[in-house]
């Protein structure tokens, strides 16, 4: 589903990702791990065409990602996320649905709002919603086109336990339907529980890559938390 070959990224001459190669297979949940500044979000942004790579190739389903090609549907929940604050919930969802090519965005949105208990908020302005309610809307927008590839950048960051549970349900549902999922997270327990394979980045370089078991074996059977601390050492404290 995703192929990254010799990806290199530099900002103002400073290299932040170097010769990174990995693949995400169809239908798997892939953990992209690393401390802040390790190059995880940069890699995802380059994969989605938000950044132009300094070198290498990043392919989604065999080609460079183009949101309007219609060849592969991608859902992306970025780390920096927001909504049109002055618009109503339903208008916002329908707009994104139209942009994503959802057949009947109004119907889908109403169904989703009912599922997450926000049907009475459909006409409310987004700014009137609580942070947790807005997270549900963002999540809905991310998955509304039934993505073949779902990229979640620190998805549980700031989520309350209820929304975290909802997110896990959705991840499992989509996984069951064969969606490939890339999860960027700092929570190693989530990775061990959900991910099939993972990549651990430090300073833009892959330090561990493979199935969770392979990674653990490589580090002498340690847990992912312990592996993370070992790779980052004193840097992690900083």
């Amino acid at each position: 589903m995703v192929e990254v070959n010799n990806f290199r990224m530099a900002f103002d001459g400073k290299v932040v990702v170097r010769d990174l190669s990995f693949e995400v297979r169809k239908g798997e949940i892939f953990g992209l791990l690393g401390a802040n500044g390790s190059g995880k979000t940069t890699t995802v942004r380059a994969l989605l065409g938000l950044y132009q790579a300094s070198g290498g190739e990043l392919l989604v389903d065999g080609q460079k990602y183009n949101p309007e090609s219609g060849k592969v549907t991608v859902g992306y929940l970025p780390e920096e996320r927001g909504l049109y604050r002055k618009e109503s919930v339903i208008d916002t969802m329908v707009y994104f649905g139209e942009l994503k090519g959802v057949k009947d965005p109004l119907k889908w949105s109403q169904k989703y709002l009912k599922r997450v208990g926000l049907e009475d908020k459909a006409k409310e302005k987004v700014e009137k919603l609580s942070g947790g309610q807005q997270q549900k809307i963002q999540l809905g927008i991310t998955i509304m086109n039934g993505p073949k590839l779902l990229i979640l950048d620190e998805p549980t960051k700031g989520f309350d336990p209820m929304n975290r549970k909802l997110l896990m349900e959705i991840i499992e549902e989509l996984h069951a339907k064969g969606t490939s999922i890339i999860m960027i997270t700092h929570y190693m327990d989530e990775v061990e529980r959900l991910c099939d394979r993972a990549l651990l980045l430090k300073d833009g370089v892959a330090r561990a890559y493979g199935t969770i078991d392979e990674i653990r074996r490589e580090f002498g059977g340690k847990s992912l938390d312990e592996i993370f601390v070992e790779v980052y050492g004193e840097d992690y404290e900083q």
């Binding site: 190059g39 909504l83 942009l99």
Partner: protein
């Protein structure tokens, strides 16, 4: 045109039209014009420009100079003191005193009871009307016409080659188009600048740009901005045109309206230039908006943007000259000043059609470049959420 462009345009248009602030800003100027018109109308009603009096108005005139004939019924045989007393006693409403040395002093006097705070009492003019009417009755019709000035002098300008030289009449419609463009620039600039800032301020850029290309997003937004600008301009211009039409027989308006000469080619070219200039202006504003990350940063650019566009107006006199000097030539073809520069020269008839077409081409090319730059700038800066200054060439890292 791509369907996603239209989806963006529709979303932007509908959400703006639903905002009370859009209509408040749009209707404010027509409302102000209406209020000013109403006030001036009421004032015109209450302030008598022509003095009038009816048979109930009691008038007395002491004519020591002997200027009036015996036919005037208001002449009384009293001196000034007695006449003033008559006013005080309420025997007459208006008392006029024409002194014996009227021919030398050229002054007559007028007495009436004050009505309090009077600013516009022009009952003194009644004496002039009486004098004029009396003098006219003593001369023949032609002399009376000459004395009263009740005739019109029709202005017929001739160009040196013998053809009509109604330059002013020909300039009215293109000037009007220029004024409308000026209003467009002044009214819409802020919205143009802020249109892409919202995505960045609300951190929607990444979600948007993984659903639609930045090119389609920017083009859709520009189309929406132009449509909204058109709505604002129509709301502003249509009532004015209706007012002009309703007052087409007005003494001040009628000669101007009668002078209007429509030159189809000139007007068509002006309209083409209007559209190209509007797109160019929108492109420039969106480009600048794409470089900054907050509405506050963007708002500081609106003043310079407007000044750059209207700069030729500061050189109006030069633009009216038949032979354009170097400054005029520069402002005609410099992209930011070209729209209004070209409109002015077209209005004053100081530019040939090929020159005008060349100017339009410059604006069109610059409009395309501005849009392409806006797309690139938005793509590059869309996810610079924390920057406070333009950062066109740099990118944020994780």
């Amino acid at each position: 045109m791509s369907s996603s462009v239209l989806k963006v345009a529709k979303f932007e248009i509908v959400r703006q039209l639903k905002k009370p602030s859009f209509w408040a800003a749009t209707l404010l100027i027509p409302l102000l014009i209406g209020v000013i018109y109403l006030i001036s109308f009421i004032s015109a009603e209450s302030v008598e420009t022509e003095p009038t009096f009816d048979e109930n108005t009691k008038i007395a005139i002491t004519d020591e100079a002997g200027v009036l004939s015996g036919a005037v019924p208001y002449v009384v045989d009293v001196d000034k003191e007695e006449g003033v007393q008559m006013v005080k006693d309420g025997e007459v409403d208006l008392y006029y005193y024409i002194p014996a040395d009227f021919a030398e002093s050229k002054k007559a006097e007028f007495y009436h009871i004050s009505e309090g705070l009077e600013i516009f009492n022009n009952d003194g003019q009644i004496l002039k009307m009486i004098l004029l009417s009396d003098a006219s009755s003593r001369v023949d019709e032609l002399d009376a016409l000459v004395l009263t000035g009740g005739y019109e002098i029709v202005d017929n300008k001739l160009a040196r080659d013998g053809e009509d030289a109604n330059a002013l009449g020909k300039a009215i419609v293109p000037c009007f188009i220029g004024i409308v463009f000026f209003m467009f620039v002044a009214l819409c600039g802020n919205r143009f600048l802020l249109t892409v800032v919202e995505e960045k301020e609300n951190r929607i850029s990444e979600m948007i740009l993984t659903s639609i290309s930045s090119r389609h997003l920017i083009v859709g937004k520009i189309i929406a901005l132009l449509v909204l600008g058109l709505v604002q301009i129509l709301v502003l211009v249509v009532p004015v045109l209706i007012l002009v039409f309703c007052n087409r027989d007005n003494a001040m308006l009628a000669p101007i309206l009668g002078m209007i000469e429509v030159e189809p080619l000139s007007i068509c070219l002006s309209l083409v230039l209007f559209v190209a200039s509007a797109v160019f202006y929108a492109g420039v504003c969106v480009f600048v908006g794409s470089l900054v990350s907050t509405a506050r940063d963007a708002s500081s650019f609106i003043g310079p943007a407007i000044i750059a566009m209207v700069f030729p107006l500061y050189f109006m006199q030069m633009f009216m000259a038949t032979e354009p000097n170097l400054i005029v030539q520069f402002l005609t073809y410099f992209p930011m000043s070209a729209p209004i520069g070209l409109m002015l020269r077209n209005a004053f008839g100081t530019i040939s059609v090929p020159e005008f077409l060349a100017g339009i081409m410059i604006v069109v090319v610059c409009a395309v470049i501005a849009i392409r730059l806006a797309v690139r700038a938005f793509q590059k800066n869309a996810i610079n959420f924390n920057i406070a200054t333009p950062k066109f060439a740099r990118r944020k890292k994780t």
